[in-house]
């Protein structure tokens, strides 16, 4: 990549972040909260993308990492009175630990088997969150409001109900995940991961231990998903097993596909668009998930590259 192109890429991506920052002063209340949610969910999609986009492993079980982050952060707050920072750490740690354990078993398979195994483990996680409902309160879930101490920042005390805190914390999370993805893409590790996606045998022949790299990608991916889950729990003050259900494993796949396969901005675009599509559809009919089904089929038939992917193919070949 030459200097000019690199600058253009950097400008575009920083511009998106700046635009998101400025948007909070212009958005009406309802959309203000929605965009905050979208940014947290887009961080989840970015985490998902690390596994699929770089190593080519398609997972249908990422909801377990999202939910592990959620429970890992929510339970200590609810039962032990943890603060937000501590809860974020325990949440991410829970997700990474789960991803590592899962990877040790599931990475023995690949392709379609990996997908099915991830789906089943996520389902076992979901069922476990229902089974231990004395602790997790099952699908009824629990609220964190009243348990979470306000954030002390430079003498000021910020409650988690403040919209401005929600928005900027979400933006911070999204930016961190975004830069991490971009950095990984350009780093030597990222190149090895892409090499594994393209040809695992040959990468092994070059002397790279592909299993270790795949495990690393999975742990990173699970870690970002868990960070998103933990942040979601802290900002929106709710923890429940719905977030561990299969639908929440399918969503990041859909967001990424809609936004654009193999692009860094894709997850944000896809998450935002799908969020509003579902939001509008659920106002019209109780069968709003029909939209999810139709969008999936239409995408795979006519736009397998998604929005940003199609843009890149047609007009913007330099888009990463």
């Amino acid at each position: 990549m030459n200097g000019h192109a690199a600058r253009r890429v950097l400008t575009l991506h920083l511009g998106v972040i700046v635009l998101l920052f400025l948007a909070q002063f212009a958005l009406p209340d309802y959309h203000h909260t929605n965009v905050a949610r979208i940014m947290v969910l887009a961080a989840y999609a970015l985490g998902y993308n690390i596994l699929l986009g770089y190593t080519g492993l398609m997972s249908l079980g990422h909801a377990m990492f999202f939910a592990a982050g959620m429970y890992g952060a929510g339970l200590p707050v609810y039962y032990l009175g943890f603060g937000a920072a501590g809860a974020l750490v325990t949440g991410v740690a829970a997700g990474m630990l789960l991803a590592a354990l899962f990877g040790l078993v599931a990475l023995r398979t690949s392709g379609v088997s990996f997908l099915i195994v991830s789906l089943m483990f996520a389902q076992a996680f979901y069922l476990a969150s229902l089974y231990f409902n004395e602790i997790t309160l099952g699908d009824q879930g629990f609220s964190l409001s009243g348990n979470l101490a306000p954030l002390e920042l430079g003498g000021a005390s910020l409650g988690f109900h403040e919209p401005a805190l929600k928005y900027n914390a979400a933006l911070l999370l999204f930016t961190a995940c975004f830069l991490l993805s971009l950095g990984l893409r350009l780093s030597p590790i990222g190149r090895v991961l892409i090499a594994i996606r393209e040809n695992e045998e040959r990468t092994r022949l070059f002397g790279y231990d592909s299993m270790r790299y795949k495990l690393l990608a999975l742990v990173l991916s699970g870690g970002l998903a868990a960070a998103a889950g933990a942040t979601y729990a802290l900002l929106f003050s709710y923890v429940g097993s719905t977030f561990a259900s299969i639908l929440f494993s399918i969503y990041p796949l859909l967001w990424r596909l809609l936004g654009g396969v193999g692009t860094i901005l894709g997850p944000l675009v896809g998450t935002g668009l799908m969020f509003y599509l579902v939001d509008i559809a659920s106002g019209i009919t109780s069968a709003y998930l029909l939209v999810v089904g139709v969008v999936l089929v239409v995408l795979i038939l006519w736009f397998p590259q998604g929005i940003m992917g199609t843009l890149r193919a047609k007009w913007l070949p330099w888009l990463p």
Partner: protein
């Protein structure tokens, strides 16, 4: 009730579960084996079978006639739907493995939400076509469940006969072993694929019809059979018919035992851990061929 009869009950329940599961999972396994695709909407074909059985039962007066009517009509409708899905979606993306998964997830939601809209969110019961109780010294057992096992067994036998002794079966086995070679010998791959996809869906639909009098028809009932079929197919080895049947009995009977003695939720968790154990020992499944 003491331990012995309890265990006997668990084994009975497990055997019935296993037969229905074998039927459902065989459909998934055939589709995977021959077409090398994973049909995530498989559970919805099961659900459609169950819902159509309810529709048939409410159209036809007597339970026996309604049941027999459903046993013929439901698989035909579901098979036709599968043919349409194959023609309109799967063939157009050239059976690309990951594309198929996305497309069948889409199909899952389309079918499920269409049923929610047309049929509603209620769980509706269907009267069993036969009603008698087998009286054991310790408990009475629903005779219909044994009818379910018998019908499942004969359908499994019929499918095996189809695979082993008919031209379609020969084509299917040929396509599974080596598609290009099969095509070179004049196997009409597209027609075989369409037939296999429809056959897989019909097996699931029949299982759905059989299960309604025990379970009630509900638009979300497709998920459990899908996941259990996945477990069976993974343990048995993707694409192996023999493995699918053996694994269906392992999973079905252990599910019966854990369900009766502990809880159905725990049974599902145990089944998943069983998969993990199998994968650690044999990544290809018990009867799986090593395939990249």
């Amino acid at each position: 009730m003491s331990f012995g009869p309890h265990l006997f009950l668990a084994l009975l329940e497990g055997t019935v579960t296993a037969f229905v599961l074998a039927l459902t999972a065989l459909g998934l396994s055939l589709v995977f084996g021959v077409m090398r695709i994973v049909n995530v909407a498989h559970g919805e074909f099961f659900m459609l079978g169950a819902v159509l059985a309810w529709v048939c039962a409410s159209l036809v007066g007597t339970p026996v006639a309604g049941f027999l009517f459903a046993l013929i009509v439901a698989p035909l409708i579901v098979g036709a739907l599968a043919l349409a899905a194959d023609r309109l979606v799967l063939r157009r993306i050239d059976y690309h493995p990951e594309g198929t998964i996305v497309a069948t997830i889409g199909l899952l939601y389309i079918i499920q939400q269409a049923v929610l809209t047309l049929y509603g969110p209620e769980a509706r019961p269907v009267t069993p076509p036969v009603y008698f109780t087998l009286t054991f010294p310790w408990f009475g057992y629903s005779g219909y469940k044994l009818v379910v096992a018998a019908i499942s067994a004969s359908l499994l036998g019929a499918t095996w006969w189809l695979l082993a002794h008919t031209r379609l079966g020969l084509y299917m086995r040929a396509a599974q072993q080596d598609l290009e070679m099969a095509q070179a010998f004049g196997v009409p791959a597209r027609r075989v694929y369409a037939m296999v996809f429809a056959l897989g869906a019909m097996l699931a639909a029949v299982a759905g019809v059989l299960v309604v009098p025990i379970q009630q028809a509900h638009y979300l009932m497709g998920l459990d059979p899908l996941l259990l079929s996945f477990i069976v197919v993974i343990i048995g080895g993707l694409g192996s018919v023999k493995g699918t049947l053996v694994a269906a009995f392992v999973v079905g009977i252990s599910d019966g035992i854990v369900s009766v003695f502990f809880s159905p939720t725990l049974a599902k968790i145990v089944a998943t851990l069983l998969v993990a154990a199998v994968l650690v020992v044999r990544p290809g499944g018990l009867f799986g061929e090593e395939r990249a």
